[in-house]
Amino acid sequence: MRGLRGRLRILAGILIATGVGTAIAFPDAARTAAILPVLALFSISRMVAAYLLSLVFAISYGHTAATNKRAATVLLPIMDILQSIPILGFFPFVIAFFVQGPLGDLLGSEIAAVFLIFTSMAWNMAFGVYESITTLPADLDQAARSFGLVGWLRFRLLAFPAMVPKLVYNSILSWTNGWFFLVASEIITTPSKNIVRPGLGSFIFLAGNRGDLGGIAVGIACLATVVLLLDIFLWRPMSVWSERFRIETTAAGERASLHVPSPYERLRWLPRFSRLRREVARRVQPLLDGYARSSAKLDRVYSSHRRVIRAVRRADIGLFLAIFVIVVATGLVGVVGFFLRPLPSGAKDLPVAAAFSFLRLLLAYLSALAWTIPVAAWLGRSKWAARFVTPAFEISASIPATALQPLIIGFAVAITMGGYFAGEIGAYLVSLFAMQWYLLFNLIAGVRSIPGDLDEAARAFGLRGRTYWRRLLLPALVPSLATGSITAWGAGWNALIVAEYLQFGRSVYSVTGLGASLFQATVVTGDYAMGYLTVLAMTVVVLTLNKLLWRPIYKRAAVKYRMDV
């Protein structure tokens, strides 16, 4: 470990020296680079705010949906729909609501951004919470009941710990989603004005508008660094930690592992600051004691006033339902109003636009499949590849497709010399980058989950080459392919909204599609009726595909190709 730390110091030294050298050689670039950490801080604060909101929301929403049957009849379909529709399409309306309201540009646009990121983060986490509570083993639930754990005590000792693994897993997904939307939300264009919020996303976008390739690269590198640092120092340790909360399904007395790993075990080479940590621990201790005392008090209050608490919860759900009914009712009135008036002139183009968008995504999806299946088959089975190649893919995947957008369109313009196809290629590539990682990582997990004995059996019977793929690998990959495809298409539709209308330098590259119509309607012409109609069309297409295509496939896959026999 010493040697590693020493090498690390040398590396840091080299980096600092290069940094200083570059700063002296290119003073302008250095000035830009100096504000990057500040911009990163702005972006991260938006993410953190949205994440904390999502966390509280997901826990209460998922928990209520799982424990209250009557509420679930409403909460579950809402969760299902909002999880799958392309929420980025609703952003222009959210902005219109917040920015044109009494809040003003500054506060309004910040709230709109946080709200957008929140909606991209909350639903899968809520679903994770719901799943963890509904799949809680019956015996744990019975043990809790027979030992009298109710109310807050039950939540603290049973429900919350049980949701930790899925909550952490989904938090990681949510952050990936969040970065995608963060980048899209820092530049807000309305027909009357452009609002630019300071952040890494707007930095990259503005560099793209200037056609400044260096700026784009620096911005993307900085964003990727932030994402990776968070991954190394927050999410990986969190997911190691969350293993402690995993419920073993085997009742038999096999020891899973004797050792419960510490979250920061893989980062042991970092300086420990033991005196500082002891000092902090000493200061924090009164807080922890206070927490223990107040939670004991809460337990007592909870158990002695059950009726009051039940009334509060009922009122809470009642209020939610009331708001929901109002929202649905106004929505319906709005939709009816639409169809009573003559349709906007652009409406007849929407089916064609939808078909083009769908074909574009289909092409991106098929090309993603074409390369991810063989690569996943290789990465999933080779130890060497897992160690050296997978991290490279993880780094590439950490950059949200929205941030790559200026780079991609720049590339497309360069290879087509600015022809019409620059827009087509740009839109295709942005969708591809938004979709492919979900497929790749799900498939790798699928390959890894093939039980060793099945693989050995296949080899023992001499299955090789095509037969091996046809009889073992491909069938075994079906469930993870289904999961990956659903997520990939969800991400693809969102990406399309920003992908079909790309700007590079002073030129605009627009193609036929729903994303482009939406941009045209809400930003260029300001025809909000047309905008609504476009989003409506997109939502209908996405929900229909989900109900008629993906769900049936997923259900069949889940039954037929499951491995837990």
């Binding site: 043990a143 027979s146 109710v150 009742a251």
Partner: protein, 254 residues
């Protein structure tokens, strides 16, 4: 003590049915027996006879379709601290240490932390897990996990200990050791419980442990017989009399 007026536990004509598409599936039919202090009763029956369901109804985790369960003369409630439960699958909370698992019931009773720790220590020692207070369940073997399950049940000092096939997911040797330890705990007047009610599918285990064996038939579960096992303790499995009991119960089930 008011317990004198009533038997500890009364199971009164308990029946249980499930309904599926309007069709009734009867699981338990008119089960009736009583338990007094110092009783060690085993419920034996073939798999699918509803014995685990019966135990869950007895501790109040499930409601009977008809009939009633009285504990000290009052209808049973799941959170009654006089009754504790040991599970076949151990049902330990994987995120809590051994000591925290054992303290679970005490926490629900709002005991203060110092007392909780002391009581947990006493029962962890009693089941022979001294030194493992801070281990997590996943670090323990099956036998040790079930010891934690037993310590957790005893820590609330119950009058009645209910066990649902507590040894059937353990290997034979570990199971036998734990059986002897349960007998020891039960016969120790300083330690709980007063009475034990255990569900098992192993006839031999029932004859080895119980004063009284209640035999259930399968689908729906009906009481076939209630037998007093009057063999002296410690019992010897090689004893022809022991085998006489096992054979008799076996013939009742088949």
């Amino acid at each position: 003590m008011m317990g004198d007026a009533h038997p500890l536990l009364q199971v009164k004509d308990v029946s249980k049915s499930y309904f599926d598409n309007g069709k009734e599936f009867k699981i338990l039919d008119l089960i009736r027996f009583e338990l007094t202090e110092r009783d060690f009763v085993c419920l034996v029956g073939p798999s699918g006879c509803g014995k685990s369901t019966l135990l869950r109804i007895i501790v109040g985790l499930d409601a009977p379709t008809s009939g009633q369960v009285l504990f000290e003369g009052h209808p049973i409630r799941a959170d009654n601290p006089q009754v504790a439960m040991v599970f076949q699958s151990f049902a330990l909370f994987p995120w809590l240490t051994v000591a925290q698992n054992v303290e679970l019931g005490l926490e629900a009773l709002h005991e203060d932390p110092a007392k909780r720790r002391a009581v947990a220590k006493k029962f962890i020692d009693a089941v022979g897990l001294t030194g493992f207070e801070n281990a997590y369940p996943r670090e323990l073997s099956g036998g040790m996990k079930q010891r934690v399950g037993i310590a957790r049940a005893l820590a609330i000092e119950p009058l009645l200990l209910c066990m649902d096939e507590p040894f059937s997911s353990l290997d034979a040797l570990t199971a036998q050791n734990l059986r002897d330890e349960i007998l020891q705990l039960w016969s120790n007047p300083d330690l709980p419980p007063e009475a034990v009610l255990m569900v098992t599918h192993s006839i031999e285990e029932a004859v080895y442990l119980a004063d009284r064996v209640i035999v259930l038939s399968s689908r729906p579960g009906r009481m076939v017989a209630e037998l007093e096992i009057d063999l002296p303790r410690p019992r010897n499995r090689k004893d022809p009399e022991f085998y006489g009991w096992v054979d008799e119960i076996y013939s009742l089930i088949v």
